[in-house]
Symmetry: C2
């Protein structure tokens, strides 16, 4: 199984601390050695760093750890291959453009017998069930709307579409179009919201701590979503299986 990491903030924030713990799971403290990737939205733009090599040994991961890219929405993934061989074309997150916005998607799980008809508007490049699910989601969004709908309407539509895929297996995913971050829990996903008063957080996977009160302003708010808690001195909230959460400006939006 793979590991997911997402961040949604009300102000551009770097993910260096969380990424430090997360990347350890790619070959050092855990077994997810079949590639990794991370995507950052910056304004309307997005940049994705992909590496088919284990994240704990990746020079690209060294760069990401040392180069504080400030972003309001980040999605990262460490892969343990289930469907599709190890290779760049099967490395998450995947990226497409719809309605003049980039969309980023990463999946943890395994979908069986999920081979819906695709009309050609979004076609997988690689062999994974994950990219197929992503293409199908975008195809259906594109059929439903001719431009980006309001966030709550998007949330509701994604809930309906997700319910059609979920019975095919494990379908934990993170999806963002640069504003909202959607997090679907099928089996395992949790989150934390950090806001004032900020305190010290200590990583679970490495003996590294950060005092967020020193690196934030009182108005900052950051939601971090991960397969398993990244820190051992904070309370992470499990997302209920079957639930698709939408994070906006660093906080969960009200359920629709």
């Amino acid at each position: 199984m793979c590991q997911l990491l997402g961040m949604n903030c009300n102000t551009p924030t770097d993910i260096c601390f969380s990424f430090e713990g997360f990347r350890s799971r790619g070959g050092l403290t855990d077994v997810h050695t079949d590639g990794w990737g991370i995507a950052f939205f910056e304004g309307r733009g997005a940049r994705t760093f992909l590496d088919p090599h284990p994240s704990s040994q990746s020079p690209v991961a060294d760069l990401v750890r040392q180069y504080p890219i400030r972003s309001r929405n980040v999605i990262a993934h460490i892969r343990k291959a289930t469907q599709g061989p190890v290779g760049l074309e099967n490395t998450h997150p995947f990226q497409r453009e719809l309605w003049g916005s980039y969309w980023i998607f990463a999946h943890n799980g395994n979908l069986e017998d999920f081979a819906p008809p695709l009309d050609g508007s979004f076609i997988p490049v690689g062999d994974t069930d994950s990219e197929r699910a992503f293409c199908w989601l975008l195809q259906n969004l594109s059929e439903n709307f001719s431009a980006m709908p309001r966030a709550d309407i998007l949330h509701q539509t994604l809930q309906e579409l997700t319910r059609e895929i979920a019975p095919h297996g494990e379908f934990n995913y993170l999806l963002s179009q640069g504003e909202a971050l959607f997090a679907h829990c099928s089996t395992r996903l949790c989150y934390i919201v950090r806001q004032a008063p900020f305190s010290v957080a200590h990583l679970k996977d490495q003996d590294v701590a950060v005092d967020f009160s020193e690196v934030t302003t009182p108005n900052d708010r950051v939601a971090v979503i991960a397969t398993a808690p990244l820190t051992d001195n904070e309370t992470w909230t499990p997302i209920e299986p079957g639930c698709l959460m939408m994070f906006l400006d660093g906080a969960p939006a009200q359920p629709v």
Copy 2:
């Protein structure tokens, strides 16, 4: 004006040497300081490194120079902004997926009054004339064919489409779908084919040389395409203005 760099090979090759000279033009030996990017195809996959900061000072460029990614098709771009502010969403190369393949595009020049109707299948995320031209090219390819056509047919179709855009201004571009690399010269673009017997090449922008005979096998063939020659001891061939060349397996394909 921007600078373009492309590479097309018959065997996966790293671009570290050419990139070393090319990146100097982003703020060190030349004035292209408004961001840069490079895209590598690896099998069906592609990874793009983008940085809105000058390439001569970019930590991402340090990584690319030191991390020999072996690829059969590479497209790089250093930006001097003409249309659209400096920002990640306006940083080349641009990437889209069509027919289950990634397509990468970078443009040097300036198109005026190029605002064709777009049907929604490919919409620019940023503000550049370049991304608009890319979207329009893909939209038309998608209308003409339902799957990837043969390379010569693709070449011919791109020639026809390019002729419709070119009158709008300067339109030097590089385009690849992972197999062929298309290079259109509107004002300035040249290339070199390196093959056995390999010899020593010396960069124009830095005092760096490489003996290709030490790092190649006799069957290797590599075409490098650039806005201006990157070496000062080799003969580069200018591409004729108005000509769209197709490179396959490290050599120009016969004109159609």
